[in-house]
């Protein structure tokens, strides 16, 4: 009897051990792809595809709303415990602080296997001391969306190509009782989507990048001219007079509802605007302020990124998953019209007209400088946005703006 009991016990232990061995690895993924996000379905599909190809790996996805996510990931990185294995991040300043603190895995040894599909130029915003710490998947450009039906009412069949023509167009729109531009004055980053294109089209991309890097002075004629043009748009009431009280979602919905002639924001809006707008819509870029600067000096670049934490228990699997998911998102976001791909795209893919315009602008771009609030560190980015808010509220002159930024961002 004792022998039978011992045998049964041994068999039970063996079964338990084999079950434990077969248990899949679970990777935690944090992102901003909540259900209302245009990338949500791509995340769901990519995870399902990865799990089907890797039955021994399971991915637990925890999406959090954009602003709350920033707080969540920063708090987790501060504590250094309970970090996810893979996390969504923006490039340059945002990821840079985590890299600086040693919380992120360097991907230099793994990148060569994917170099054919992910061009090195696309990794520029996730490199620190020339080492790669993230896998970018989509890139965004500041895009000027135009309601062509409203423009047609004032005799325009194209997006104005020169600054003077843009001013004349805005005056005509105002005369017809149409608000030229929609912007959220409540969310300062939305104001920067107007200021930065004006600055880059006044000083050029190289100089703007040097300003962000602290190499060139902000106290520059071109910056002063750009801010003067921005404030002229405010004083001439080209922006929605209610802008200061509206959030970006409200403004975007107003544009989609046909309230504004133009809406300038990131190209991540392509899908929503393309699918929901009931009018003819075109995507383009704001005209130049300085004739010496070319039209396709663009604000934007590769930005949405996945990275792997140093505390990750299964690094090899997490890195493999990060590359796999990034490639999948890049492809899915492009095909769904949500955003431009960082990875080599399928040339036969049928995509919407707005994403074609964005791809065209990216192809023509002579220079791309990342969004200022992503480029700069958190503290500097908020000082920078504060100045943009002050310029919008006409509380600083263009000269004070340039002098102030020069002094405070040093």
């Amino acid at each position: 009897m004792k022998k039978i009991l011992a045998l049964a016990l041994a068999l039970t232990m063996l079964c338990a051990a084999s079950l434990a061995l077969a248990e899949p690895i679970t990777l935690q993924l944090w992102s901003i792809a909540t259900e209302s996000d245009s990338s949500h379905q791509a995340f769901v599909d990519a995870i399902a595809a990865f799990e089907a190809e890797h039955p021994d790996i399971k991915i637990e996805h925890s999406p959090t709303e954009n602003e709350a996510y920033k707080t969540k990931i920063k708090a987790a990185m501060s504590s250094g415990t309970e970090l996810p294995d893979i996390f969504f991040t923006w490039g340059m300043g945002f990821l840079g602080e985590f890299v600086d603190a040693g919380r992120v895995v360097c991907l230099d040894d793994y990148y060569p296997a994917y170099a054919d599909e992910l061009p090195e130029a696309m990794t520029v915003n996730v490199r620190y001391d020339n080492k790669m710490y993230g896998v970018p998947y989509t890139m965004s450009l500041v895009t000027l969306y135009a309601n062509m039906d409203l423009l047609a009412q004032v005799g325009y069949d194209h997006i104005p190509a020169s600054y003077e023509e843009m001013q004349a167009c805005c005056e005509a729109l105002k005369g017809a009782g149409i608000i030229p531009f929609g912007v959220s004055g409540k969310e300062l980053w939305c104001l920067s989507e107007y200021v930065e294109p004006l600055v880059i089209k006044s000083v050029g991309g190289d100089k703007l990048r040097d300003m962000y890097n602290g190499v060139a002075s902000w106290n520059d004629e071109g910056v002063i001219k750009a801010i003067a043009a921005f404030q002229e748009m405010v004083t001439k009431e080209y922006f929605d007079p209610s802008a200061a009280a509206l959030g970006n979602d409200e403004v975007k919905n107003n544009f989609i509802a046909g309230k504004y002639a133009f809406y300038q924001n990131g190209s991540w809006n392509n899908k929503d605007i393309g699918e929901q707008a009931k009018f003819a819509v075109q995507a383009g870029t704001f005209p130049v302020l300085n004739p010496d600067v070319t039209l396709y000096q663009m604000i934007g670049g590769p930005n949405n990124t996945l990275a792997v934490t140093e505390t990750c228990e299964h690094k090899e699997e997490a890195i493999e998953a990060a590359f796999y998911l990034a490639k999948y998102f890049s492809d899915a976001d492009y095909k769904s019209g949500a955003n431009l791909p960082c990875w080599a795209a399928d040339p036969k893919a049928e995509v919407g007209p707005l994403i074609v315009s964005a791809a065209d602008m990216a192809a023509k771009a002579d220079n791309m400088v990342l969004f200022g609030d992503n480029f700069l560190s958190a503290d500097a980015a908020n000082t920078y946005l504060d100045y943009i808010g002050l310029a919008y509220a006409l509380e600083v002159t263009p000269e004070e703006y340039a002098e102030g930024l020069d002094a405070d961002l040093k």
Binding site: K70, T71, K74, A75, M77, S78, E97, F98, D100, A101, R103, G185, K186, P241, S242, A243, A244, A245, L246, S377, A378, D379, N382, T383, D386, G389, L390, A393, E395, D408
Partner: protein
């Protein structure tokens, strides 16, 4: 037979769990905040001790502008003490007179306290919306088009527009405190005064209000310290904007901690708030004692 509670050790042992909890969740974080306020720390690297530099910067930096935030919080405290509390007292006095529907009114006035602040914030955002908000629609309907405003987007009106829902939300809370106090006044005091020919106003002024003075003191402390700590509704309505016009110390602290990664400076603001709340609580206590 020995009485177990006569032993000091037993008393200490029974109090120990609560003491550990109290130190762990209240005292230790305050001490840690005090330490971090003396450091330069981005939340990721090791904190660097910088002495009182954060305090000097806090009170001298134009970009932080703590004085504006404190002025806004103090203004809210003044409105709380001189508008919210008198109104709550008036309601409590009226409701305690056995009027019809006393319970219903109590529930109605207390309801905003029970609703989530975020829900209230969203509700008032809709009321203030410049295009479809009830406030501007009513003004337009009354032919007062020129009175319509972008209530939360205009620097001149944003602070006042934030104060209205804050004051409205907690009227019911103070009313209930005072109502409970009034109900505790011995009826024979009121009856004796009435027999002596006192009017209702005189009974309120000379009997009820002096009797509930300890409750009034608590209400004033809550109103003032609550104003200094005010955060949630302002965060939902304006997040300190436009251009920092509605900034209060707590929104400034959150901005320093989570937007700018300046954990040292955020802790400095936290310490300042703790000191101010204690100081005001002591001052109010002293003021009420002197009146005795």
């Amino acid at each position: 037979m020995k009485r177990p509670f006569s032993y000091k050790l037993n008393i200490f042992l029974f109090l120990l769990p609560a003491l550990i909890l109290f130190i762990g969740v209240l005292i230790a974080p305050i001490i840690l905040s005090g330490y971090y306020s003396l450091t330069e720390w981005n939340g990721l690297k090791t904190p660097v001790f910088i002495g009182l530099a954060n305090y000097r910067e806090l009170f001298s930096s134009k970009s932080i502008n703590i004085m504006r935030a404190l002025k806004n919080a103090m203004l809210l405290a003044v409105f709380s003490c001189f508008i919210q509390l008198p109104f709550a007292l008036w309601l409590a006095l009226k409701l305690s007179k056995h009027i019809r529907g006393e319970r219903v009114f109590l529930s109605v006035f207390f309801m905003p306290v029970l609703i989530s602040t975020v829900v209230i914030g969203q509700l008032w955002l809709k009321i203030y919306n410049p295009d479809y908000g009830v406030l501007n629609m009513v003004l337009r309907g009354l032919g007062l088009e020129s009175w319509t405003r972008i209530w939360l987007g205009n620097k001149a009106t944003a602070l006042g527009a934030c104060f209205v829902p804050i004051l409205w939300q907690y009227v019911g809370y103070h009313m209930l405190l005072m109502y409970a106090g009034i109900k505790g006044v011995p009826p024979e005091l009121n009856e004796a005064a009435m027999l002596d020919g006192c009017t209702e106003g005189q009974v309120n002024r000379y009997i009820i209000i002096p009797y509930i003075r300890p409750i009034l003191r608590v209400s004033v402390i809550f109103a003032v310290t609550g104003s200094l700590k005010s955060f949630d509704l302002i965060y939902v309505l304006t997040n300190g904007g436009p251009n920092h016009a509605t900034e209060v110390p707590s929104t400034l602290m959150i901005s320093m901690l989570f937007l700018r990664n300046r954990y040292g400076m955020g802790s400095t603001i936290a310490v300042m708030l703790i000191v101010l709340c204690f100081a005001f609580a002591l001052l109010i206590n002293m003021a009420f004692k002197e009146e005795k």
